[in-house]
Symmetry: C2
Subunit: 221 residues, 2 copies
């Protein structure tokens, strides 16, 4: 194996294991690796494997009939894919462009990630309350996000929880922890939690099990 390919494989595993933190862009020598990973089938295979892990775990969990058993799903690159956007940004090799990214979100054109949509339908069918929790700004992106989710088949969830003015400027761990604490205070039991960023999955009240969807394109602190 070429040294660069070996290095980039190591870098990608370090990202998924949460050893590499706080990185701003994909290392320039790994842009081609990430492109091949995202477009060549391995990314889909990895997402499928995570959803199989969730499904195996789900077989041992039954939702009570009090509507308090909850699954949390992140939105960006968990339910909906930003891959079409990142194709134009060297798969994360370019610095984050907040204006361009906001304009992309406002189009409401993010495609569903197929394996996660199947998981979503399974969770709904098994009587779990599904909460979609996203750091997207509610005021600016609320309607485009709700329409995008509905158009892609994410319908019937209990709540879509977005970042309101109270949490503007806070990191994802703080925002998502606050949301989870609130849900637990409302009497919900968080049975599972799925996200593409470790900041979706760390902090307070993380739930009985967490599952990390792969994402080598960007890091949200």
């Amino acid at each position: 194996m070429a040294a660069e390919e070996s290095y980039c494989l190591s870098w990608r595993v370090a990202v998924e294991a949460n050893n590499a933190r706080g990185w701003r862009t994909v290392p320039s020598e790994c842009v081609c690796h990430v492109e091949s990973y995202m477009l060549g089938g391995q990314y889909e295979s990895d997402v499928d494997a995570v959803v199989e892990n969730v499904t195996a775990y789900l077989d041992g969990v039954v939702a009570a009939d009090d509507d308090k058993d909850v699954w949390l799903l992140d939105v960006d690159d968990t339910c909906l894919s930003n891959l079409p956007y990142y194709r134009g940004k060297h798969f994360g090799g370019d610095a984050f462009d907040s204006t361009a990214f906001r304009n992309w979100i406002l189009r409401g054109d993010c495609p569903a990630i197929p394996a996660v949509l199947r998981l979503y339908e399974k969770l709904m069918g098994r009587g779990f309350q599904v909460f979609l929790v996203t750091g997207r700004d509610e005021e600016v992106m609320g309607s485009s996000t709700a329409e995008n989710l509905a158009a892609q088949g994410f319908v019937g969830h209990q709540r879509l929880i977005m970042r309101g003015p109270r949490f503007r400027g806070q990191g994802a761990v703080a925002f998502k922890s606050a949301i989870r604490r609130q849900l637990v205070a409302e009497g919900y039991r968080i049975r599972g939690n799925v996200g593409d960023q470790w900041s979706d999955l760390l902090g307070d009240c993380v739930g009985d099990r967490t599952f990390k969807i792969p994402n080598p394109m960007y890091f949200v602190p």
Copy 2:
């Protein structure tokens, strides 16, 4: 890429991201993949990458002169390698054989993992207290472990903490959490924590940063 190779890559990433839990053996279709991974250079590359992540983090951390700044390192497949043993067990494809494994440990022949030995020396050189914490049974394996570590260059650490009778039969998360709580109660600050199992790194008082060394050969709950 062949479907099997793709599946095994996904399986390995799921293990490192802690999505796959509680598995007893390497899936039979992935034994050759794990063999190639462990012997073909990618494993060393991945361990080197983790140690580079630790080193980058270390550059922002200075040990105070009160001897209370601590790093925790696990022993098996973190400081010392059991790869020579697992070569005879289909790289984790065979079920765990407690008698054979104990006999292997009693030989005291585990080689150092070179990148972690370099990290160990760096930590000692920077004035951190290094504690080696292992689930190995103290009564049975105490002397062979201490001799093995010393022979491989792991000398001068603050303490080697092994599993005493009080923790026999307890899971690794419970045992290691109890040890960490005790260290914090003694006034130590856990600045970092390195292990090859998520059960080394989850639970109470996990430290300022945790680092996961790859290990696709076995899962310790």
